[in-house]
Symmetry: C2
Subunit: 224 residues, 2 copies
């Protein structure tokens, strides 16, 4: 077991090495390798283990009732997979998970996770923090989806970025295609809205750089 690598995993941050050694010796924790294109988990399969990527990345896909594949997201090391779906009554993978490249990962059974969290307070807090981060992202996304118009979603998004950078000039952290997907709208619709907002003098757009030109009007847009 490579403890240098393991201590980089958020779940094990700040846990002392001798504690780690103890935990790994007492519990069933395996390092497993998955070749590119291999399935790590099936959609709707019971989620009874936590998979934490050590190296590489995977893609999460949804399969609809006609068998068509819808891309959901990519996950990179050192993140865990589906941590929010490990417990509860509905503990099934909501998506299928496929290796995008050769991947190594820790696989820890649900039982072992429970024991592990009981053994070490730092680990427990890490686990709760990580779960909360994922939940927060979910709720953020829901928040965006709940705005009626594309303009509202866009202005909220830009405003949020603008607050983070403390500037009226922001750089999108996704491609416009991805942003459209994130909002759940068609890409040309998003582009059109950006053009309109530029024509109206609210913003100026150049590639991924967006500048807020009329902050007053702009703020009013974010009202529901």
């Amino acid at each position: 077991m490579n403890y240098a690598l393991i201590s980089k995993i958020p779940l094990f941050h700040s846990v002392e090495e001798k504690e780690l050694v103890k935990i790994f010796s007492e519990l069933n924790i395996f390092e497993t390798r998955f070749e590119k294109e291999v399935l790590l988990a099936l959609q709707d399969e019971p989620c009874n283990r936590l998979i934490i990527l050590l190296t590489g990345s995977v893609k999460a896909e949804m399969i609809d009732s006609l068998g068509r594949v819808i891309k959901v997201e990519d996950v990179f090391a050192p993140n865990p997979l589906a941590i929010l779906f490990l417990f509860g009554k509905n503990n099934r993978f909501p998506v299928q998970i496929i290796a995008r490249e050769n991947v190594s990962a820790l696989v820890i059974s649900k039982q072992s996770i429970l024991r592990m969290l009981g053994m070490n307070q730092v680990l427990l807090k890490n686990y709760l923090d990580i779960s909360a981060e994922f939940a927060w992202r979910l709720s953020q996304k829901l928040h965006f989806m709940s705005f009626r118009t594309i303009r509202q979603k866009l202005s909220m998004y830009i405003l949020k970025l603008s607050k983070e950078v403390q500037s009226d000039e922001v750089e999108l952290d996704k491609t416009k295609s991805d942003l459209a997907e994130y909002f759940g709208v068609a890409r040309p619709s998003l582009e059109r809205e950006l053009s309109l907002m530029q024509q109206e003098g609210l913003i100026s757009v150049e590639k991924k750089k967006i500048k807020i030109k009329n902050k007053n009007k702009f703020n009013k847009l974010t009202l529901v």
Copy 2:
């Protein structure tokens, strides 16, 4: 402390009474009362305590930048408030919380929650299960929002109900107004879609009872 009441709280399910006594004596746990209309938490206030309703109910509201109030949801005893937002970097209440009636509640500091979960495995599992349930509901809702058309959302929703009841005849578990809000669409638009689907012979609607008449066609609707 009323242990009969406390053992009904999901978080304390199946925890032995003597364990509960020990936990409550060692940790800072308060039973607090809130009168009707009193604020239990401010929007954006740091979420550094877990509030578990013992009796009564509260409403969660969002405030937009003009100060207007948007109702989000109601929470009833014996549920906890904002359990997903207690940890993580962004541990703030996403909504303000107001008592809808006279309320009594357990208030447990974040620190005490951490210690408590380390003390008892059953409690730990309960906590993780409860969190997972909330996360699951979030992701379900997100799933519905991500369907493009109202018809798709509706047919997914009806199909899900139909699977639960194992019957082609289902009864909506929300008012149509609530359902429209849940989907994030306008109420008349939802009604119109129901009417159209009825006209097309896909379903029959009578008040809250919906019968799937053409399961073949119906299944095709849920494809993305």
